[in-house]
């Protein structure tokens, strides 16, 4: 088989294992471990008056109960503020177990360890916690009104005021021929990986070592956090992410309380301890995202070209800010999308509420930014009576403007400079793919069938692959097997396949010989993590560099043996040969054997490398500066992020009797630079679109005024099933990134970003009523259509025949 696999739709090698039950997820580990369960706060805001564990003590099988009082040293301190920022002026984090106060329903108060999870829950149920309830703050508007404070010492509830501007926006707005101002909302949703979080810890007292498996997106950093919090030396702790059943952002947050408490208990008890999060716990004690109130003012000329944009956002960050203000920054900086915005000012106020913490969920603030920008485009088009595609087209950054500097500072602390792209071509492809110019005819056809049809589009640019770095290690064994490892983690993205493709292509070996390991600190201890669409960009490039290092060394050794010039050698199908000289070759596995001079022959192959088999006695067996073994470790650290882009269009049909919304066509044009594996990229896009549709039409976190999450189960939190996800048509465009050796841009989050914007636009187009908040369900659409205050679009008045 060919070894040039980069760019080929190679089937995912991990799938057979994962879909036939041979995956090894967290709960598959440690069958005999003790189980942990938690008593969690039933109140959104309360002081803890008393914790009475007496009734639990006689539960048979109970092993231990821990409260805040049992935490010592750094464990008794607040959890870290992972990403500090000068504009995060009032950060707050919780404790591993609540210390006197709870700030959201679900906050852990007591940990119970028992012989199994059933018994642990029996005991937890008997623990009586007395609370004194405090006033509750739910939602951005209540937080902003600040009638009550989430944290007493922060009376205005504002954690951060993030502010960026590229010019003097007020005079620019005043000078604009036209202006529009409006307010809109995006609701909360959540990552909802099918596997919740989970931790298993085993302490080897003889070896003084702790092995932790955790369902994480960042095993190296969890390791550092455990060592710091439990006061262990880093070398005493190893952390492994086993197969992980989805992350989507929630597992990048760390250390979760359980990631510290489970190891703590394992050490204290000298027993294996495991906690596997259940679905209700995941709803009320993991993380959510997306709620924002957005106030937008835009100035534009007669052609619809934007002259100034002023955006003020209130971002609900929940009860604590362990992940800093990453989501606000991403919204603020990615909002501008593929457009030239001559003067831009953005303020994002990140505010506390008595709800589950808010941390990145696939898209991480971009869907909201896209919603602000794209709905602005729709409004400009509506005001001027222009086609929505035309307004967008007129505002696009042109291909000759790259690198394009927005004069903003991104989430990695580096400038927002777009490296490459072709946005007009993207838009053209999208229009062709969805049949934009034929929507009028579709609308007539739908009307004849008694349906309201509408189309919408949304474009985005996504900063991907932020640093600081990732590394890769490639090693050829004497068996010919190629071991590849990188420290970042995998949650189902297919890294075992795409990373293997990169190595097979770079090294010239069959992909079957390549084995990839991710997220295991025993194999690769330096890493950042999997988030921000960075795995292919960061680890992909690091692994490619490592493979190139191996290749160079292999050629050097082979050149010696073959008495040829390294420049005349090539590697194909795992064999090094002199170009154009058949027979003058040596298998790579033999090169690997020879790379490690031996005294002892443990098998036939090894004999070739022993002292009496090799002859050159003019040099030491290992030359100065060289190392034994055919392996190489390398790192990729980018100057700044690389910017992928895309455009989505949706066509919806609405039943004007029941107000059901059917997405009948969904088109995606996607540009992530050079593509390692188009099948995997399309899969990522499909998954993203599914989550985009979920966020637009189905999902919300239904908190009541008391801070109780009313839909904390899959019965009532409506993730779309496969049957709700539309068929998706995809077209690709490739503008390689000049920033990295492989020319890759990230693809992980793209699919989700424009969903709400495109669908809001399509629904608005169908019904002629302004959509100012998402998601929207049939019952809400019915309310909107009956509302006397709902704004009719100008486009509707240019048409006829729509009513409730």
């Amino acid at each position: 088989m060919t070894t040039k696999l980069f760019g080929e739709p190679v089937r995912r090698r991990e799938d057979a294992r994962l879909i036939t039950g041979r995956g090894r997820y967290l709960d598959d580990i440690g069958a005999g471990a003790l189980a942990a369960a938690f008593v969690r706060s039933p109140h959104a805001h309360a002081r803890i008056v008393d914790v009475d564990v007496d009734a639990a003590l006689d539960v048979e099988g109970l092993v231990a109960i821990y409260t805040y009082e049992d935490l010592t040293g750094p464990l008794a301190e607040p959890l870290p503020v992972l990403i500090p920022h000068p504009q995060l002026h009032a950060p707050r984090t919780g404790y591993p177990l609540a210390n006197g106060e709870v700030n959201h329903v679900g906050e852990p108060v007591v940990m119970v360890v028992a012989t199994d999870r059933y018994v642990a829950e029996d005991a937890a149920e008997r623990i009586a916690v007395t609370y004194e309830e405090l006033p509750v703050v739910v939602g951005v508007d209540a937080s902003r009104a600040a009638q009550h404070a989430v944290h007493e010492e922060i009376p205005d509830n504002v954690a951060a005021r993030h502010h960026q501007e590229t010019g003097d926006v007020e005079p620019a707005l005043a000078a604009a021929p036209h202006t529009l101002s409006f307010t809109q909302y995006v609701e909360r949703s959540a990552c909802m990986p099918l596997e919740g979080k989970g931790v298993h810890a085993r302490w080897d007292a003889d070896d003084r070592s702790l092995r932790v498996h955790t369902s994480t997106q960042a095993s190296t950093s969890v390791r550092a956090a455990i060592a710091a919090k439990l006061q262990l030396s880093l070398d005493e702790v190893e952390v492994i992410a086993p197969d992980v059943g989805g992350g989507f952002g929630v597992k990048i947050v760390h250390p979760w309380p359980e990631e510290l408490l489970v190891p703590m208990a394992a050490i204290a008890l000298g027993r294996e301890v495991k906690w596997a999060e259940d679905r209700r716990e995941h709803f009320i004690s993991s993380a959510h995202e997306r709620q924002q109130r957005q106030e937008v003012s835009v100035g534009f000329d007669d052609d619809g070209r934007i002259t100034a944009l002023d955006v003020h956002i209130w971002h609900d960050n929940g009860a604590y800010t362990p992940y800093g203000i990453i989501v606000p920054i991403v919204t603020a900086t990615q909002l501008v999308g593929p457009y030239v915005i001559p003067v831009y000012r953005v303020v994002v106020e990140s505010v506390y509420t008595n709800t589950v913490i808010v941390t990145p969920y696939r898209g991480a603030g971009r869907p909201q930014g896209c919603f602000a920008m794209e709905r602005t485009m729709d409004r400009i088009a509506d005001a001027l009576g222009l086609d929505r595609a035309v307004v967008r087209e007129r505002n696009l950054i042109q291909p000759d403007q790259f690198p394009y500097d927005h004069h903003l500072t991104f989430q990695d602390g580096r400038p927002v400079i777009y490296d490459s792209g072709d946005y007009p071509a993207l838009l053209e492809k999208l229009k062709a793919l969805v049949g934009w110019d034929g929507v009028g005819a579709l609308r007539d056809d739908a009307e004849a069938r008694g349906k309201l049809l509408g189309a919408g589009m949304a474009l985005y640019v996504e900063g991907t692959g932020p640093g600081p770095y990732e590394g890769g290690h490639v090693q050829v064994l004497g068996s010919g097997k190629v071991l590849v490892s990188t420290g970042l983690t995998t949650q189902g993205q297919g890294h075992e396949t795409s990373f293997a493709q990169i190595v097979a292509s770079e090294l010239g070996v069959p992909i079957e010989d390549v084995e990839v390991t991710t997220g295991d600190t025993r194999r690769f201890p330096y890493a950042v993590g999997t988030f921000a669409s960075r795995a292919a960009v960061m680890s992909g490039n690091a692994i490619a560099l490592a493979a190139r290092g191996v290749r160079e060394k292999a050629l050097r050794i082979a050149a010696d043996v073959l008495e040829a010039d390294p420049g005349d050698l090539q590697i194909e199908d795992g064999v090094v040969q002199v170009r154009g000289t058949p027979g003058a070759s040596i298998p790579l596995r033999t090169v690997a054997v020879l790379s490690n001079p031996l005294r002892y022959a443990f098998d036939e192959a090894a004999k070739q490398a022993t002292q009496f088999a090799t002859h050159d006695d003019t040099k030491p067996p290992v030359a100065p500066g060289d190392a034994p073994g055919l392996e190489h470790r390398d790192y990729y650290s980018p100057l700044r992020s690389t910017f992928a882009s895309g455009a989505h269009a949706a066509v919806v049909e609405i039943d004007p009797a029941t107000w059901e919304i059917d997405v009948v066509n969904y088109a995606v044009v996607h540009d992530c630079g050079n593509v390692v594996n188009p099948m995997i990229v399309e899969g990522q896009v499909h998954g993203g679109v599914a989550q985009g549709v979920g966020g637009a039409l189905y999902e919300r976190m239904a908190y009541d005024a008391d801070g109780q999450l009313q839909n904390a189960s899959f019965m009532d939190f409506l993730m779309p099933y496969a049957s709700e996800v539309p068929d998706i048509v995809i077209d690709h465009q490739q503008t390689p990134s000049p920033l990295n050796p492989l020319g890759i841009k990230g693809a992980g989050e793209a699919g989700v970003i424009p969903g709400s914007a495109a669908l809001a636009s399509a629904i608005e187009d169908a019904v002629g009523r302004r959509i100012t908040s998402m998601p929207i369900s049939p019952t809400e659409l019915y309310d909107l259509m009956r509302s006397e205050t709902a704004e009719r679009t100008a486009a509707l008045d240019r048409r006829t025949g729509v009513g409730a």
Binding site: D122, R279, T658, E724, P778, D783
Partner: protein
Amino acid sequence: MKPAPFRYADPRSVPEALEVLAAEEGAKVLAGGQSLLPLLSMRLAAPATLVDLNRVPGLDTVEVTGDGVRVGALVRHAGLLTHGGAARVQPLLARATANVAHPAIRNRGTTVGSIAHADPAGEMTSVLALTGGSVTVASPSGERVVGWRDLFVGPLETSLPAASVVTSAFFPALPPRSGTAFAEVARRRGDYAVCGAGVVVTLDEDRRVAAVRASYVSVGLTPEVHDLTDAVAGSPVEKADWAAAGALARTLVEPDGDLHASADYRRLLVGVLTERTLTSAADEAVERTPA
């Protein structure tokens, strides 16, 4: 999300099951487990004993006669859905079960279990009411037949004493010159309905509308049958104003709002689904009425 401790009994006969149910306070029947086990896992219910019916022989049959369809306590929704004989005698059964959850749940969940569960969001409680059906109940004092009106007391509440087993449900046959239809709106395919409607239209020998009845899903606290005849009585079927029947239905129901639908929206759907189902039920009634 693990159940509290419970004792498990797996009797081999109905009398044996009743013995356990009578002897142990807080004992509960387990059928397909598709409603009961989630309640246990969320610790919303903690019965001391589960009496598993699944090994009791003879409860898994569908008996079809000219009078109607008798569905045994262990017949799964999937079994009823695909039972051709049952569909011929009472077409509503297959039409409604097709809307119950997803295949995986229909393969385990029982139709009788869903009636015993008395969930006003369940399709089959509503169908039992609309067809004028009943259940046969075994208890230590013997066996009796309980009509649907006497069965449903409130949401998730029946009139049956704790020590009883519903051995079967009986759905009377579709009367002559009648047609039925069933439709629902759910947020996602297979979800409990936001609103569902089942209707029966009966014509007279001149193909005029003689009777119209409807029953709804997820509307009200218990299943009810609404007589909509007044809106269309005596009208030649092809001219019947089904929209008027829908409008009448809207005035008769008292839906509640929840996370997924306001009361108003449910009322809207009652009207729309009534009109739509009546239109297709009327077609079937015409087919079944000799010209």
